[in-house]
């Protein structure tokens, strides 16, 4: 029966049968209530007291699968169900379980009752086990007052008042502490707890903490820093022994702006720099500098979740600003896409972006097929069995993408008839789909109208308003209906949502221009607008383009001045 006290080791098995009544349980998350009442507590208590020499009882609280919950959420939820506040000691994780210790029997029974009362966001009840235990490590091995005093003096020396920075690099080997009956190994819970206690008392407004070179292989102990020194913005954990970025999750309550991690094994677990940066940023969204390097501006799109909840008849859902952002982006994107030179799109794509194209299955066999040109690039999984080709046709990196886009036939998209679906918005990315039609403007199938659905996943961008990370294009023949309704609205009305009404002078210019050039009024207006109402210049541009294209410009045709 002693094995229950071999805690802090992996052997702790809350479910092992000590109860008189065996409770059926299906999985860790479901009904498991230990009925330790049926055991013989009084005897046990007495034995425990004499064993430890402590007059107070310690209890170990275990939450199976506790690892998947955010620590502060979990503790706050438990606390909110307790009538009296309690102080968890030595919170840590063993495999999937979250564990901590508490001190007295009344708290223990309150906590036991909280079991199965808290629901997580998957609507599963969280169960909580409470068992007798020896005192936690950090209590058993608490630093003596003399040691605490030594540590405090040493820390004071290492504190920079003006910068509110504490440098605890290589603390163990500090000359003041060496050879003096004190061994500050920060990996040990008692040492870390003592250090944090001193920080809490003496430097609660701490802004920067340097824990470089302390052989830290886990951050369980450090997680209390979130309560003790919540203002810390700079944390240096370089040259330690952290094996996985998951450890950082234990301190993610800190609103870090600068973090140093180089020299930890975890750094080499990432395939490349950007994977590393994005994993760290996941933990600390407000991070500005990592390992001394400035990071590009973080995106915080605060989308009111209530807006997403509203079912909407429109094509768009989401905030107005996002709507504008996407429309503006699409206008910019397609104006370059349709311009004949798609190299300008390099700025729209992320370095590591992916693009692929697919066309429907049966279209591949029929001849004369307007989609044939797309077939070569089509990455339809249904037809593509060759795994090598599959890899090839997924265009990766913005250079490859723009090159392959440039090889596709020249197009003109009808932006006035597009349907945009915004179907995913998170704080770092936006997913939206564009459904519409476009015309081929050169080559064999000139004039044929094709329909497309293009899905983009994008993050905020610099030269374009969005930076595309994924681009999936599906092209098919347009139905007769679609062909008819497409392009019925002249392009100039696209930007006419808030067109300022023309002045008298401008109206006269339009009339004159139209008469002189033979173009329709709308096109004349556009031409003049594009040339900032400089009549002469508009005329020159018009004539020049006429000559260049070698075509007779027919009235009503799109203005070449754009």
């Amino acid at each position: 029966m002693r094995d229950v006290h071999k805690d802090q080791q992996l052997r702790h098995t809350p479910y092992s049968i000590r109860c008189d009544r065996r409770m059926k349980w299906h999985s860790e998350d479901e009904i498991c209530i230990t009925t330790w009442r049926k055991r013989k507590p009084p005897e046990r208590k007495m034995r425990q007291n004499t064993q430890d020499g402590y007059t107070r009882n310690w209890f170990k609280v275990t939450i199976p699968n506790g690892i998947k919950y955010d620590k502060s959420w979990l503790m706050n939820s438990i606390q909110s169900h307790c009538s009296a506040p309690f102080t968890p000691v030595d919170f840590h994780y063993i495999q999937n379980r979250a564990c901590f210790f508490i001190q007295d029997a009344s708290t223990a029974s309150v906590l036991k009752d909280v079991s199965y009362k808290i629901c997580d966001d998957e609507n599963r009840k969280i169960c909580i086990f409470v068992n007798h235990s020896t005192a936690p490590y950090s209590v058993k091995n608490k630093l003596k007052p003399s040691q605490m005093e030594m540590l405090k003096l040493t820390m004071n020396k290492r504190y920079n008042v003006s910068q509110q920075a504490l440098d605890l690099q290589n603390l163990r080997f500090d000359p003041d502490l060496m050879g003096r009956d004190i061994d500050i190994i920060l990996n040990r819970r008692n040492c870390m707890a003592a250090t944090l206690k001193i920080i809490e008392r003496n430097f609660p407004e701490l802004l920067s903490l340097n824990l470089c070179n302390n052989k830290l292989y886990q951050l369980d102990g450090l997680s209390d820093i979130i309560e003790k020194a919540p203002k810390v913005k700079t944390l240096n954990l370089s040259k330690n022994k952290l094996e996985s970025a998951w450890e950082l999750g234990k301190v993610k309550g800190l609103k870090l702006e600068e973090l140093w991690l180089e020299g930890n094994p975890l750094c080499s677990t990432f395939s490349d720099q950007s994977a590393y940066v994005s994993a760290i940023r996941d933990c600390f969204p407000k991070l500005l500098r990592l390992d001394g390097r400035e990071l590009s501006a973080p995106m915080i799109v605060d989308i009111d979740s209530s807006e997403i909840m509203k079912p909407c008849k429109e094509n768009f859902t989401g905030s107005e600003t996002l709507k504008h952002l996407v429309l503006q982006f699409l206008q910019q994107y397609y104006s370059i896409y349709d311009s004949g030179d798609r190299q300008g799109l390099l700025g729209a794509y992320h370095d590591e972006a992916c693009f692929s194209l697919a066309i429907p299955f049966d279209a591949e066999d029929s001849a004369p097929n307007s989609l044939r040109k797309y077939f070569e690039d089509s990455r339809n999984m249904k037809t593509l069995k060759d795994p090598y080709l599959k890899g090839e046709l997924l265009r990766h990196t913005k250079r490859d993408i723009v090159d392959s886009l440039s090889a596709l036939p020249k197009t003109q998209h009808d932006l006035s008839s597009i349907l945009v679906d915004m179907w995913c918005q998170t704080k770092w990315m936006l997913c939206f789909s564009v459904n519409g039609v476009f015309k081929e403007v050169e080559g064999q199938s000139q004039g044929s109208v094709l329909a497309f659905t293009r899905t983009f996943i994008a993050t905020p961008g610099s030269s374009f308003s969005l930076c595309i990370v994924n681009d999936e294009l599906f092209v098919r023949d347009a139905s007769p209906q679609e062909t008819q309704s497409a392009f019925s609205i002249p392009v100039s009305t696209l930007s006419s949502s808030s067109e300022p009404s023309l002045s008298q002078e401008q109206q006269e210019m339009v009339q004159a221009f139209s008469a002189q050039s033979g173009m329709k009024l709308e096109w004349s207006q556009k031409c003049l607008q594009d040339n900032e109402w400089n009549y002469t210049r508009a005329g020159q541009v018009f004539t020049m383009l006429q000559v260049r294209s070698g075509n007779q410009l027919t009235p009503g045709a799109p203005c070449p001045c754009s």
Partner: protein, 108 residues
């Protein structure tokens, strides 16, 4: 794979579709948004068509940041276009977002 599983479920027992969605999932059906697992399953279960003859003519997938996969499926016979964003959580794939557009008249 996942897609076959998903459509099989759709055919047999739509209430079981809950397994591939999570509470944070969001479905966009023909422009309308349905937030959460319950709403999604409800909407999918309430669709009028019963068994569907699938002849998926196009499928495409791409990896996205944060180890998700974006998938696209098209079926001209039923006339739909379905996009999914799949995320791998604890060794199971769940669908965090999807968008569905019926395009019954769009295939010439």
């Amino acid at each position: 794979s996942f897609i076959q599983h998903c459509y099989q479920l759709f055919d047999k027992d739509r209430t079981q579709l809950g397994a591939i969605y999570i509470d944070a999932s969001c479905l966009t059906w023909e422009g309308q948004q349905f937030q959460g697992k319950a709403a999604t399953v409800e909407k999918l279960s309430s669709l009028p068509f019963q068994k569907i003859q699938y002849s998926l003519t196009a499928q495409d997938h791409q990896p996205t940041p944060h180890s998700c996969i974006i998938s696209m499926v098209v079926d001209p016979i039923m006339g739909f276009h379905h996009m999914f964003l799949l995320k791998n959580t604890s060794d199971a794939w769940v669908c965090t977002n999807d968008a569905f557009r019926l395009a019954l008249h769009n295939f010439g």
